[in-house]
Amino acid sequence: MSRLKKQFRAAAKREVKDFDSWYEENKTAIVNKQIYASQTTPVVKKKRFRLAPLLSACATVAVICCIVFALDVFPTVRKIPVNDNKATTKNPPGESSGQEVVIKEADFTADIKEIYDNLVDEMNFKAVIDDLTAVKTDGVLTNFKGQVSVNNVGSYSIDIKVDADESYNFDGKFGTEAVQPVKIDSFNVWYKNETVEDYMLKLYNSDTHGTCFMTVRCGAGTQNGIDPFLEKLCRG
């Protein structure tokens, strides 16, 4: 400790009143405080379990998995050849001819079959794509709808929309306006309880691959169970 420091501390203590006079001056206040403190029950602070960080971490992991899943799978799926039942008249960009074409299952599952067949063999859980259909609305989008079951966890409804025309505008068409999206890279992500027992995660991506929009729907308590499945799909 420097000399000045010592000097200053000593002088500071010298300059204040001596204890006895201070005690006499404030005796009433001191006694009142003592009485109040002795009557007050000691506060035992309970450590509160904080759920928010846990939920936040789970939600973040789920969102990241879904994003990677979307990035990895969609470009592959979009390369799938579609039946040549195109309308003969050319529509303006972003406008639908209203013609819907069902894509053959063999066409679009060929690319992802290899991925989900491996799931059964390699993973401890069994994930089965129960049902998957694809409908292309000419000039607008291709819509994949399906059901994925993970054993002992639950069933997930997947709805994937991939634009068929880059100028098609997804904004305001999927009922996400009420929830503020979180921007992660090129994705807008909505994550909310749609009802008490129904969770919904929506992704909207607009990048060099085009635009895709995905909704994963599941019951309460099963929202984290899809993670391993998505993770596996992402790794491909």
Partner: protein, 177 residues
Amino acid sequence: MTTEEFNENLKKIVKGDKDAWRALYEEYYAYVYFTAYTRLKNRQDAEDIATDVIISLCSASNDETVRNPKSYLFVLTVNKVKNFYEKYYSRRSAQEIEYVRLTDPVAQNEQSAIEIGDLLEYLPQDEREIFVNHVLWDIPFTEIARQEGGLSLSSVKRKYKHACAVLRKLLKDANNK
């Protein structure tokens, strides 16, 4: 005073142990007083704050054990000063609360020992706070820089060195007289 002794004294003062009161008073009252004084620039108000802080230690024994007595008291003091300032000073006019700096505190104290409180008046507000926080409360410069907000570590060190130089010179002059 060690942390254990401090916590022991907190328990004793609730039971009315005068020696415990004395120990706490003699160890910390001056620090609390000068911290309040450097901020409020009024001796009477600083005394009120210091008394309030020391007496409020009675309630501290009801809370969890105090892990760092100096930090605890420093934060308690600064918060009480803030509350006091908002409660009373915000209603006063600027002229009323303007700090009346002594023209030459050293000269005024020729007959008596030079007072630290007077010497501090020679320092600008920021240097005064930095000096008191570091010297009395042992707060590291990095922490002071964080509290002061916007000041770099080197600025805090420079201001502290300047404050020390001014005070040394004043003390030397006072001793020569």
